[in-house]
């Protein structure tokens, strides 16, 4: 069965799509729906990963290209949208997925250099890319902007037991909280233009191929807090397809709200729904 090309002819730029993570999964899911995708990586060393991603997508019958730009540098990112439009035309779907935790350090200690870099990559860069993308989206009267958020925008739940790690994410959460506020503010400003702006976050952590110790530990003690990259990709696809705007929501909640199934990245095979848990792959 071939997937329904609900988004045929659209062009997406997905930042931070170097590895087998949320970015690449989103690119694959959108490509399955007919979107030509441009994968972005920040470094020259990203190229092999970007090439892998493009190969996987083209082998599945999709269209993919990649672009490299250091999002930490305002000059390097200044013409990113123009460069990303070279292969398939102007970007109509922008997924701001790239983010950095420049230092794991508590709020009382994290130094200015780390804070400054965190806000450049996680806040100013997405906004710069949005502002670059808006003229073409306005002209077309259609656009989708999806900003990735994080549950670290809230302080850790009480009681705080055995997770001093959470203290070290306050600044990351602050940068994502600022981006969330921008997301809903921009959505309000763009009301009626055909351009939708929304945010999506994992319930706690997304299980990616290079899942860290935190994800492995959480899968054992709190499996409901772990989700597949397919869940995030499906949620981003659904926001893109439906054009829901001005919401910042967990991926599972988007599937639940729309009562839609969870697909594999081929966009055809149903593998679950909003409540599906991750099965730990064999080591």
């Amino acid at each position: 069965m071939t997937p329904i090309k609900t988004l045929d002819g659209r062009v997406a730029l997905i930042t931070g799509a170097t590895q087998d993570g949320i970015g690449r999964a989103t690119a694959r899911r959108l490509a399955s729906a007919g979107v030509s995708v441009v994968l972005h990586g920040s470094r020259d060393s990203s190229v092999p990963g970007l090439e892998d991603g493009c190969r996987i997508i083209t082998e599945a019958g999709g269209k993919a290209a990649f672009v490299v730009a250091d999002l930490a540098s305002d000059s390097a990112r200044a013409n990113l949208l123009e460069r990303a439009a070279a292969d398939f035309g102007p970007i109509s779907i922008l997924v701001n997925n790239a983010a950095a935790i420049t230092a794991y350090a508590p709020a009382s200690k994290i130094d200015f250099a780390a804070r400054d870099a965190m806000f450049e990559i996680n806040f100013h860069a997405p906004i710069d890319l949005i502002q670059q993308a808006l003229p073409a989206m306005r002209e077309a009267g259609w656009g989708r902007i999806i900003n990735l958020s994080s549950n670290s925008t809230s302080p850790p739940d009480l009681p705080m037991v055995g997770l001093p790690m959470m203290h070290k994410l306050a600044l990351y959460g602050a940068s994502k909280g600022a981006l969330d506020r921008y997301t809903v503010g921009l959505a309000a400003e763009l009301h009626g233009t055909g351009i939708s702006v929304s945010g999506v976050l994992p319930h706690a952590v997304a299980w990616v191929s290079n899942a860290d110790n935190l994800a492995r530990m959480m899968l054992k003690v709190a499996p409901h807090k772990v989700e597949t990259t397919e869940m995030m990709a499906e949620a981003i696809y659904l926001l893109t397809e439906t054009g829901l705007t001005g919401i910042v929501s967990e991926s599972r909640a988007i599937l639940q709200m729309l009562q839609r199934p969870l697909h594999a990245l081929d966009g055809v095979t149903v593998i679950g729904d909003a409540t599906s848990l991750v099965e730990e792959p064999a080591a």
């Binding site: 100013h124 302080p155 600022a178």
Partner: protein, 276 residues
Amino acid sequence: MGSGLDSRVAFITGGRRGIGRAIAKRLAAQGTSIVIGAEGPAPEVDETIEMFERAGQKLAVVHGDLSNPAARGDTIALASEAFGPIDILVNNAACNPRTNPSMMTLKDRRWMFEINFHSAVDLIQQALPSMRERGYGRILNILSGGMFQAPIPYPGAPDSSHSIAVYGASKVALERVGTGLARELHGTNICVNGLRPHRVCVTEANSKAAIAAMRGNPEVAEGLEMMAEAGLLLIKGSLTGVSVSSRELLFATQSPLMSLDGSTVIGDANTLPDLG
């Protein structure tokens, strides 16, 4: 005085007028020694100095540009010269270039985050070692209703709602650092809270047009006393990790609203300001 604040030293950024000065006056009425931050000399600074002199209250002024990371590097050290180490830090200084989110330039965004966010975190980090050493500290971050997207339909011109979004984003970031810091500092007797006007605080900086607009819709407005009283409640108490509006806090604690000199009860959580 009874509040225990008469031996304390407070540093309040953006203290030459508005909410900063109102909190300064409310604390000074408790006997607290006050240091205010101001970018440079200005008539309002002189006016504030005179105001404190007339009341026989202790005031010192630290000048400096909070938008410059190097220039603000010794701010707390300078502020500690007048009356000793800072016990109470009120991060009140803020700026807002007021541009819609689709158009605000990187330059303006960076400038705003320097003043509204990074400088506040820098001052906190500068003040913490001494607070830890002495086992007492109060950190109050002044937030804004702009943290929340206005509900539809907008009460006024849509642009007045849109153009506060990026300012709101800087305050969301500051709030998140405050809640995280409060968690991190649990058990140290250093309390970190966020306070915002319930809707709009009427300050000396409001234009005549803004005041006239509020007269038609007075329930959106509050006087400086409301923020000053709520600020005092958070500093005097031992709540931490709270992010609250001024009226909510007076309501939750069933506190009277006092004049800035602390001498007179002028209302409560529901009191509307005098808009002339």
